[in-house]
């Protein structure tokens, strides 16, 4: 997926969101040191960090784009491809793993008809793995956006995903 980045269509970055990002960057004293925070804010605003946006940030704070890309690609929290409206994250912590996260993952792939790190055709869901979310008491756990669902199994995942359809 990463190798296709250079071939990706340039995207138009909405001006209103860029202004919000600009205002945030200007409010910081140590802009370079706060790069990770800036990227968090940018991903929150735009949903993902396409190459053009990385370049924009690099120019705003006066550092090479390669440095921004180096940070974006290093941390798993950042994504360079567009995600669906909701992100379904299967917790792959050890507690979830020993209690059957693998089966939950397979069931979700089947239910949503996508592979890992892929987005459904209707752009509603992106399915991904996540490192431990610390809800080990509820293992196996699945997180949709910021909401945690516990004790998941092949049967009850459908109830969860369908609660996001048509909303």
């Amino acid at each position: 997926m990463e190798k296709d980045l250079l071939l990706m269509e340039p995207v138009t970055l909405p001006q209103d969101k860029l202004s919000l990002l600009d205002a945030y960057i200007r409010s910081l004293d140590d802009q370079e040191g706060m790069l990770i925070h800036i990227l968090h804010r940018a991903q929150h605003l735009f949903g993902y960090l396409p190459p053009d946006l990385q370049l924009y940030i690099a120019r705003s704070i006066g550092i090479p784009a390669s440095k921004v890309y180096g940070v974006v690609s290093f941390y798993s929290y950042f994504t360079q491809v567009k995600r669906g409206q909701h992100t379904v994250s299967v917790c792959m912590g050890t507690a979830c793993f020993v209690k059957g996260a693998e089966q939950v993952k397979e069931a979700l792939k089947k239910e949503l008809k996508v592979g890992m790190d892929e987005t459904t055709v209707d752009e509603l869901f992106t399915l991904k793995e996540i490192r431990c979310i610390g809800a080990c008491g509820l293992a196996p756990a699945v997180m949709v956006d910021d909401k945690v669902y516990g004790h998941m199994n092949e049967e009850n995942i459908r109830t969860v995903t369908s609660s996001y359809k048509g909303v």
Partner: protein, 620 residues
């Protein structure tokens, strides 16, 4: 704004009634309290709905003397949502598995009529009012306030002696006094390494550079451990207080909390706590009139396990890729922005105020000769009472798993327990009576780590577990040094070949050699410990490995790749479902005729077995 110690005492006195009620159901007032567990896991289990339900009911029933309190995690994750009822003159009652119906009954039966709901009561495996803790096994120092106070109300923390240690330090002690107490207490780092905290503080204190930093490592990356999250969500002020005391002792005026972005609730509660601490004058200029200045800011991580390593963490705080660097120089000499920096784990810092308040001797009397105090463990996996437990060092694994944890789920057979996360290893049944301390765990080939304790039963395959951890370290390797970047990938591939039945006969020797090479040559702690899950499972479960390699069978039936699939002709109706699902097209047969699998092409993925509605695929 609190200007001195006596004003702090005044606030505490005003809360005395509440403290009495909260601790022992004492006091003469007529207020009744309902404590609802609202940490991440509590909310996910429905705690918010229960809180809303109780709030509505209390309003509708005009119960003016009932207070609802949002508390953090009490540690009994298995039975959430939980509600604790405190009535004057009665010992606190804990309810678990509370649903809407039970919430109504708590108000109608317990609060109004004084009848305890026997079917919903859950036992507490610790006792706050019995400090010896002897009868209960658990003893809480770091988690002392978790589940007992509202983390968003600083006055509740003050009521339970909060910021008293800070006041004591600033008015009575020099930085060297504080370091002396810490050294005497024997407190060691709770994040994994176990380095003595007092020595770490002393090293930074001795540096001449006037600009120093104090960093709290809240990048809890060990999958299966969540004590730091619980602490920050349930009692953030105890961590702040420890950090401020550390700043005073080491000579730092700036504190940083580095926290994972995956913990949104903990971040929100930390921000609330920081605002309140500033408002009350525990942060800022001239704290409590002592002339000491200190402030704290939050820095977010972005998902990288290696950032738990202190040099990598410092780079990440600087906004860079979180790659580790060689030590020395240690952070205490050259850390954040090349200035002397102390990095302490969340749980370590939460212990500090109690040590200052109760004294080094009190702390040093708990635990074993070389491991003092208590340790919080996330007891998870195949155990009945999943949750956070805090026990004195020296407690045995058997006591934790069977007495506190209630034994194995569905009463299956215990197989192994994994400690230390991806840097640790497994411990088999014959070592269940080992007392837990830093050294004893290391001699068993594992480590304390941050305190994940994952219990596995007879259904878990050890090769599969080792493969799981290696996949983790392979993905999380930062790529800076070759032994870790390439070594973990090769280790993973070898393990993968074992689970698929394609391994060469000498694969175990290869694993052993490669594992030891990585251990000796990787740059940072993550790389050096990455082979531990493999080496320790091989050490204790060699027979299981041999069965995979030599007989190509997985005794637990987990490793799908070792199965051979065939069609049972009597059961096959020729529905073609298996033929359509087979990814390599090795199944042949016409509709309504018996199908067959070409074993030369079959990759043992098991798709046909899963899809067949007539149980006509045989797995052996």
């Amino acid at each position: 704004m609190i200007n001195n110690r006596s004003e702090l005492l005044e606030i505490r006195k005003n809360q005395n009634e509440m403290r009495q009620l909260r601790e022992i159901g004492g006091g003469k007032g007529n207020r009744i309290e309902l404590l609802v567990g609202m940490a991440t896991c509590g909310i996910a289990a429905g705690g918010k709905d229960i809180y809303d339900e109780l709030e509505t009911l209390i309003r509708d029933m005009d119960l003016n003397n009932v207070d609802l309190v949002k508390v953090g995690c009490i540690g009994s994750c298995y039975c959430e949502p939980t509600v604790q009822v405190n009535m004057p003159g009665h010992a606190p009652t804990y309810y678990g598995y509370v649903d809407r119906d039970a919430a109504g009954r708590i108000l109608h039966e317990h609060v109004l009529q004084g009848k305890i709901l026997k079917d919903k009561v859950v036992p507490m495996s610790f006792n706050r009012t019995d400090p010896a803790g002897a009868r209960k096994r658990q003893f809480r120092i770091a988690l002392r306030n978790c589940g007992n106070i509202d983390p968003e109300e600083i006055t509740e923390y003050i009521a339970f002696d909060g910021y008293e240690a800070l006041a004591k330090v600033l008015t009575e002690m020099t930085p060297l006094d504080v370091i002396h107490v810490l050294k005497e207490s024997g407190l060691r780092g709770r994040g994994g390494g176990g380095f003595p905290t007092g020595l770490k503080w002393q090293a930074t204190n001795q540096q001449k550079n006037p600009q120093k930093y104090m960093i709290c490592n809240a990048d809890e990356g060990d999958p299966g451990a969540y004590m730091d999250r619980s602490l920050l969500e349930g009692d953030p002020h105890s961590v702040l207080e420890g950090l401020i005391i550390g700043g005073y002792a080491t000579g730092a005026n700036q504190g940083i909390i580095y926290i994972r972005a995956e913990y949104p609730l903990a971040i929100a509660r930390l921000n609330t706590a920081l605002d309140q601490a500033r408002e009350y004058g525990f942060l800022g200029k001239n704290i409590l009139g002592s002339g000491f200045d200190f402030d704290i800011e939050i820095r977010l991580g972005a998902g990288a396990f290696v950032c738990g390593e202190e040099t990598a963490l410092i780079h990440s705080v600087e906004g860079k890729r979180g790659e580790p660097t060689k030590k020395p120089p240690y952070p205490s000499e050259e850390g954040y922005l090349h200035k002397p920096t102390t990095v302490n784990n969340v749980e370590t810092l939460a212990n500090v105020p109690e040590i200052i308040n109760k004294g080094a001797e009190w702390f040093a009397a708990i635990g074993t000769r070389n491991s003092k105090g208590t340790k919080v463990f996330a007891l998870v996996g195949k155990v009945k009472n999943v949750g956070l437990v805090e026990v004195p060092m020296g407690t045995t694994l058997r006591e934790i798993i069977y007495e506190i944890g209630g034994g194995i789920t569905d009463d299956k057979a215990f197989k192994a327990v994994q400690t230390g996360g991806p840097s640790g290893g497994v411990i088999s049944a014959e070592y269940l009576d080992t007392p837990i301390e830093y050294e004893s765990l290391r001699s068993l080939g594992t480590m304390m780590g941050s305190g994940g304790m994952i219990v596995m039963d007879e259904d878990n395959c050890m090769v599969d577990i080792a493969k799981f951890y290696l996949q983790f370290t392979m993905d999380e390797s930062c790529g800076k040094c070759t032994p870790c970047r390439i070594g973990t990938k090769r280790l993973y591939e070898l393990l993968d070949s074992i689970t698929k039945g394609t391994a060469s006969p000498n694969v175990l020797e290869q694993l052993d050699m490669l594992g030891n090479n990585i251990r000796n040559s990787a740059l940072c702690g993550l790389g050096q410990t990455a082979p531990n899950p493999v080496l320790s499972t091989m050490k204790y479960f060699e027979e299981e490995y041999r069965m995979h390699v030599e007989e190509k069978t997985c005794p637990t039936g987990v490793c799908k790749g070792l199965f051979r699939y065939s069609v049972i002709p009597e059961k096959c109706v020729g529905c073609t479902a298996c033929r359509r699902v087979c990814p390599v097209g090795c199944i042949s047969g016409h509709p309504k005729q018996v199908h067959s699998i070409d074993l030369n092409l079959c990759i043992s993925c098991g798709a046909c077995f899963d899809v067949c509605k007539f149980n006509a695929i045989k797995k052996a």
